[in-house]
């Protein structure tokens, strides 16, 4: 078992192309034991590809993947026996029942616990009948039961709530929150829905065009972004603009977006204290924090190569 605080998963400079289309262009990610990592990104940002590389389903063109402190070789199944995985879409054998499926999957994991599996099936209210009769939500819960039954040290979830209705989605997220709160495993789950990440994750990584745009805690992320709205410039709009440019030029700030009139800027700073200095320079502006969803949108829109 990995000691607390140790690195469970580390991706370094991961690169992957599908034909001429680049999907990952130097992705870095680090996950430690006990952390719940929300991997956030738009559709096509590279989330699923990253997770498939972690699971060994796909191989990166360049870069390294370390699981539990050791580089992963394609032929070595032992690290993957310590990982539980819930795929974006479930493709179980629909002629199997949950019990048969558990027996089949359990044969590949040395630490498989049939009692725990039965307990999870009961907890998730999964009936003992052929999987072809299951709804989408039941399939996802079944996948989660399989992923947890062998007591993994790393739990990987690839957009597990995709395609679920709001009720089932909420139910699943509550189960997930309960499990990650109780468990000692590290959890990495991807989503394009910000509210899911806010509900469950303690750490977030935002990926866009195959590159990590931000990695850190939610609190840190919230503290690095501000929206400032300037008052009506009156007769001389140019003067206000010049004042803003002068203030921004002297401070370590990056403009994520600009709208108006009236002028509205979203700015980013690695150092939250800079905003105090900005307030001092532009006392007439209104400063407000952004929600995680707004920060996410601003970050991805401002990425190189983003759509206008």
């Amino acid at each position: 078992m990995t000691p607390p605080g140790d690195c469970v998963l580390e991706l370094r400079d991961l690169r992957k192309r599908y034909g001429s289309v680049p999907v990952l262009e130097g992705l870095n990610l680090r996950l430690e034991r006990g952390q719940v990592y929300g991997f956030l990104g738009r559709n096509g940002a590279g989330k699923s590809t990253t997770l498939r590389i972690v699971m060994g389903i796909t191989h990166a063109d360049a870069g390294s993947v370390s699981l539990f402190g050791s580089p992963v070789a394609a032929s070595d199944v032992r690290p993957r026996q310590r990982v539980g995985y819930v795929a974006q879409e479930q493709h179980f054998y629909d002629w199997m029942t949950p019990e048969a499926l558990g027996k089949f999957v359990g044969a590949f994991y040395p630490s498989w616990d049939p009692d725990r599996y039965a307990e999870l099936l009961d907890r998730f209210e999964i009936p003992e009948r052929r999987l072809r009769t299951f709804s989408g939500g039941m399939h996802v819960k079944q996948a989660l039961a399989l992923a947890l039954a062998h007591r993994p040290e790393l739990l990987v979830l690839d957009e597990p709530t995709a395609g679920l209705d709001p009720v089932v989605r909420r139910e699943f997220l509550e189960i997930l929150r309960e499990i990650v709160a109780r468990g000692e495993q590290a959890t990495l789950f991807s989503s394009h829905l910000v509210d899911e990440v806010e509900l469950v994750a303690t750490r977030v990584g935002i990926v866009e065009h195959g590159v990590m745009r931000y990695e850190g805690s939610l609190a840190e992320l919230a503290s690095r972004v501000r929206r400032l709205t300037l008052p009506d410039p009156g007769a001389d709009p140019g003067a206000a603009e010049r004042e803003v440019e002068a203030a921004l030029a002297t401070l370590p700030l990056r403009t994520l977006s600009r709208r108006g009139p009236p002028l509205e800027l979203t700015v980013w700073s690695e150092e939250p204290l800079v905003f105090a200095a900005l307030e001092a320079r532009l006392p007439g502006a209104r400063y407000e924090p952004l929600t995680l969803e707004e920060i996410f949108i601003e970050l991805v829109r401002s990425s190189p190569g983003a759509d206008a």
């Binding site: 389903i57 032929s75 795929a87 479930q90 493709h91 054998y93 089949f104 498989w112 049939p114």
Partner: protein
């Protein structure tokens, strides 16, 4: 539910075992059906061989059944084990499990090979035991051959299953490739690797290990497996995933264009000119002067008779080369079969790239003339790609085979037989041209005799060289090889060519021949009684179906005559040639001194059915089964 085995620990053998158990559980219905299907198929072939007059060892039914069963079963298993996995996308689920690349594929290959191979081996073993064959060597040989065939075919189907939407075009391309190879080179599929293992004549009989065939099978299996393995494993199986998707319209068009090009290319290929001659290997083979003449006899005491046959076939081979211009002559192969009746010869031409005759070398007497005639017939049929059997050519093939291969006594006998046969048929130019109808009336022996006398007559009338020219032109080579040659040859019949080269119209030749027959019959008084026999056949209604009523009339004989009634229910089309071997035979004794004999067979045919009926009487002096009457009737 089959226990899928949640094992402690997860070594590779355990993982493979788990995967295989999953496959067995998932496809158990199909795996149960396979042995049943093979059993039924085997029974059908066995039943057919049981009644087939030329069948010898019933165990050859195993080879016949496997040739059909294994490819179909392999296709079905490939579809179930491999294609469906990708179509249902369950391979994505397997990819996410801690498995090594290739383990899933290996498990599927193992299950398929085990199921098919096990079924085939068990089938052969059971068939051998039921047939009373307990020799380990025989059973082992059959099992090894069957397994080898399964290995090659399963490798192909499993591999191509991974090609997804390209698998059907791949199959077609492979088939066309084999056809092209066969046409352009001396390659013969039936003599290659897995197919040679299942060759019917050696499947049971051959005692030596087929090392070459096994090696070819192993290499072919690896070569066939490679494309699929590459597709399945390369780039994390992404290629196999993409190929499992439905073909787009553009892809379908592209594939269609490629296949059309392949078909066109095949059509333009010129057929190969030479076929490598087949060789019997090992001990117990007698060879004639010509290398192509070989006799496989097996037991030492048959060596002298085998040498005699080989010498006769060798001499025949040399005559074909010299007089008919067939160079090289086709291989003339003979195999001893102790179960055959005396003077019975089976032909299995074209199975081994030449003429293959089965005969009983241990029989009391051996009719070398009949053997030469049959070998000539089969050789010309094989060389002309069976065009010699087309009706306008058929009389020339049958007649020339008898006349050319025989010596003077044989020719005399054929004339005497012809005199007797001619008394019971209506001859004429049209009748001779429609040879199968003449065979229907006169019987095969009678028709052969008539054809022999006609060829001899034409030779006497217009010169033997004219007849040889005709044979070289029409029978000793494939005259029709494509559309253009068919158009050119469609009017080149013996009748037309005779008229062209002799200046005598065909009807005039036939009339002159008939007059010759009448002249000779008038001088052969000892055959008059045979020529005057008459027969009548009718179908009369009765409460239980139509009765066959027969009557034979003629001059009373000094000895009992052995006659027989032949009957066969006809299926559509009702006017097809009847092979008398398939007819039911009922003995009819015509007592000595009796001017007639009558009989009735009750309720033989339901009303509305059609039947072919014939009366034959044996003429011991001519060794001829004279057909006195034949009719096709509808049961009232």
């Amino acid at each position: 539910m089959l226990d899928l085995g949640a094992g402690r620990g997860s070594s590779m053998p355990r993982r493979l075992a788990t995967l295989m158990r999953k496959e067995l559980a998932q496809h158990r219905a199909l795996l149960w059906v396979l042995p049943l299907a093979l059993g039924v198929l085997g029974l059908m072939f066995w039943a057919q061989l049981r009644t087939h007059p030329s069948a010898t060892n019933r165990l050859t039914a195993c080879a016949q059944a496997l040739r059909i069963f294994v490819p179909l079963a392999a296709l079905a298993l490939g579809q179930a084990l491999i294609v469906r996995e990708y179509q249902a996308r369950t391979q994505l689920f397997l990819q996410a499990l801690p498995l090594r690349p290739g383990e899933v594929l290996l498990a599927k290959l193992g299950v398929g090979l085990g199921a098919l191979g096990g079924t085939a081996v068990a089938f052969c073993t059971l068939a051998a035991l039921l047939q009373g064959e307990f020799g380990l060597r025989v059973i082992g040989s059959m099992a090894l051959r069957a397994f080898g065939f399964v290995l090659a075919v399963w490798s192909l189907c499993a591999s191509f299953g991974l090609l997804g939407k390209l698998r059907v075009p791949a199959y077609l391309t492979l088939i066309l490739g084999v056809v092209a190879l066969g046409r352009a080179t001396s390659f013969q599929l039936e003599r290659f690797g897995p197919f040679a293992l299942l060759e019917a004549s050696t499947f049971v009989a051959e005692r030596v290990l087929p090392a070459r065939a096994l090696l070819e099978t192993a290499l072919a299996s690896v070569a066939l497996l490679l494309p699929g393995a590459l597709v399945g494993l390369w780039r994390d199986g992404v290629l196999a995933e993409r190929l499992s998707e439905r073909a787009t319209a553009r892809e379908a068009v592209a594939v269609g264009v490629v296949l059309f090009a392949e078909f066109t290319a095949i059509g333009l290929l010129r057929p190969k000119r030479d076929v490598a001659p087949f060789q019997f290997v090992g001990d117990g083979v007698a060879r004639g002067a010509s290398h192509g003449a070989q006799v496989l006899y097996g037991a030492a005491e048959l060596a002298p008779r085998a040498a005699q046959v080989a010498s006769a076939l060798g001499a025949l081979s040399e005559r074909m080369r010299g007089e008919l211009g067939i160079d090289p002559p086709p291989p003339l192969l003979a195999v001893h079969n102790g179960l055959l009746e005396e003077n019975r010869v089976n032909t299995r031409t074209q199975e081994l790239g030449g003429v293959l005759l089965e005969l009983n070398l241990g029989a009391r007497a051996l009719d070398l003339q009949a053997l030469r005639a049959l070998a000539t017939h089969e050789s010309l049929s094989w060389l002309s790609r069976r065009r010699a059997l087309f009706e306008p050519n058929h009389w020339l093939l049958d007649g020339f085979s008898q006349a050319w291969s025989g010596d003077a006594p044989a020719l005399t006998r054929c004339w005497r037989r012809a005199l007797v046969a001619a008394a019971h048929v209506e001859l004429g130019a049209d009748v001779v041209t429609h040879w199968e109808r003449l065979m229907d009336q006169a019987g095969e022996d009678g028709a052969n005799a008539l054809g022999c006398s006609l060829v001899d007559f034409v030779g006497e009338r217009h010169g033997r060289e004219r007849v040889l020219e005709l044979v070289r032109r029409l029978l000793a080579r494939p005259t029709v090889t494509g559309l253009v040659s068919w158009w050119r040859e469609r009017h080149a019949t013996p009748a037309a060519l005779l008229a062209l080269h002799t200046g005598e119209p065909w009807p005039d030749i036939v009339d002159a021949w008939q007059r010759e027959l009448a002249r000779r019959r008038a001088r052969a008084q000892e055959l008059a009684s045979e020529a005057n026999d008459r027969g009548e056949l009718t179908l009369e209604p009765s409460a239980i179906g139509a009765d066959v009523v027969y009557a034979l009339t003629g001059a009373p004989a000094a000895l009992d005559r052995q006659c027989r009634l032949l009957s066969l229910q006809l299926e559509r089309p009702y006017d097809e040639y009847v092979n008398a071997e398939r007819a039911e035979r009922r003995p009819v004794l015509w007592p000595a001194g009796a001017p007639e004999v009558h009989g009735r067979v009750r309720g033989l045919y339901p009303a509305g059915t059609r039947a072919w009926l014939a009366l034959e009487c044996h003429v011991p002096a001519l060794e001829l089964d004279k057909r006195v009457r034949s009719v096709r009737l509808e049961a009232p």
